[in-house]
Symmetry: none
Subunit: 142 residues, 4 copies
Amino acid sequence: MTDVSNRPCITLTGAEHALQAALRHADEIGVPVCVAVTDRGGNLVSFARQDDAPLMSAQLAQDKAYSVVAFKGLATREWWDLIRDDAPLRHGIVKTDRLTVFGGGVPIAAGDEVIGAIGVSGGSAEQDHDIATAGACVLGGS
Amino acid sequence: MTDVSNRPCITLTGAEHALQAALRHADEIGVPVCVAVTDRGGNLVSFARQDDAPLMSAQLAQDKAYSVVAFKGLATREWWDLIRDDAPLRHGIVKTDRLTVFGGGVPIAAGDEVIGAIGVSGGSAEQDHDIATAGACVLGGS
Amino acid sequence: MTDVSNRPCITLTGAEHALQAALRHADEIGVPVCVAVTDRGGNLVSFARQDDAPLMSAQLAQDKAYSVVAFKGLATREWWDLIRDDAPLRHGIVKTDRLTVFGGGVPIAAGDEVIGAIGVSGGSAEQDHDIATAGACVLGGS
Amino acid sequence: MTDVSNRPCITLTGAEHALQAALRHADEIGVPVCVAVTDRGGNLVSFARQDDAPLMSAQLAQDKAYSVVAFKGLATREWWDLIRDDAPLRHGIVKTDRLTVFGGGVPIAAGDEVIGAIGVSGGSAEQDHDIATAGACVLGGS
């Protein structure tokens, strides 16, 4: 064990690459969305709200990205399978501040390490997940 | 793509027309309510609490109007059909700050564009929806 | 008096133009910052945090942009002259939620109308103001 | 001492009279404002935001009205004389939630009893006070 370890971290350049790729995919499928990219510490790095994206999606996109880095890099759509058959958890954890348990948040990875996350809101959970994945893939993620 | 676009916005005059029409309908059916009108940015424009309306309704009426402009102009009573058969969304989105998933919030439209919303609370969800609709209709909405 | 009025609103394209111009200016003077662009309703449209910008600046940049659109399009550095010789206001208004009374927030205008704002945090108040101005100028603002 | 006492309370009709009188005065002096009327319990009864009034004023107007009913019916502009020469109070009480210590909030009275308050924000503290007074006077207040 050493006192210090080097960790790969997403840069603004990386976050903007992911965000722009997500916006392009949203344009292609015609779904206006909000897109947020956070670093591995859960702090916002890059954000965009497309014209006519729902106002409510601005916070949801950020919360989805946060949820991913805040719990093992798990894509938000994976949460339901974890909690569906566990009643105490299903009732008890959903209220956790900022935790989002439906699709639209995916990890951004470098090699096998989560370096950030991208969250998308504005379409269906499936659309949001696909748009986020289009963004994360640019950096080798998801 | 341009840097600026012109968008129709509700005025205080328009908001008061809608609010007074809603109050008249509430009087007609004998249900004291709170009524809130927000602009397309979710900011409050006009509000009234009728004598004997529930105190709790003051915030609920504002949240209902906010919910409409914050998500695609969807009337709040439409939310349940969106989430009833989608367990992750049903469990996961209801906690969203200010989102209200029962009746009483309806859009105010100009042509095909949402320019604001009206939210009503104090009666049943159906009564609240009808009162809100009576307000929105004055401006051609809902 | 009419029920509806048309108002110019900033688009994501416009917000990204302003944001990128601000980031370039920050790079030129070597000050890593956070930059936020809001629309006239105070809702976030575009955001970037440069590598090594202070974490605290993420919220401050958003609050500065909000402060501008929330009060007459006043640049945040103008606040001090308004309140310095008015003791009740100086003591009483600074606590207002999200209000920021030092430099770094400037309006984005279209003609004589405020259509949004840009907020910058990370350098001195003067540097932040200059970076924000470099962004707003792209759209004819400040 | 009896178990129950009758207290005069403002009605929605009364609140709307005061609010409309305040809006007329604001129009006359050409200052767009937000106006809020609360009952003696501090709960919002009536609210209006004029076109081009500052967004920030929406909450400030409500807080000014609340401050009045929350402390002895004192007009908010009277606070400074209470605290200016009392350093602990001046530093310690201003942060009190919703307390506003500059002009714009005035009581609405019936006889010698405070039945509600009106708060105005959008102009200078003096203008706000005058507009609020124009509203309160309709009901015999201030």
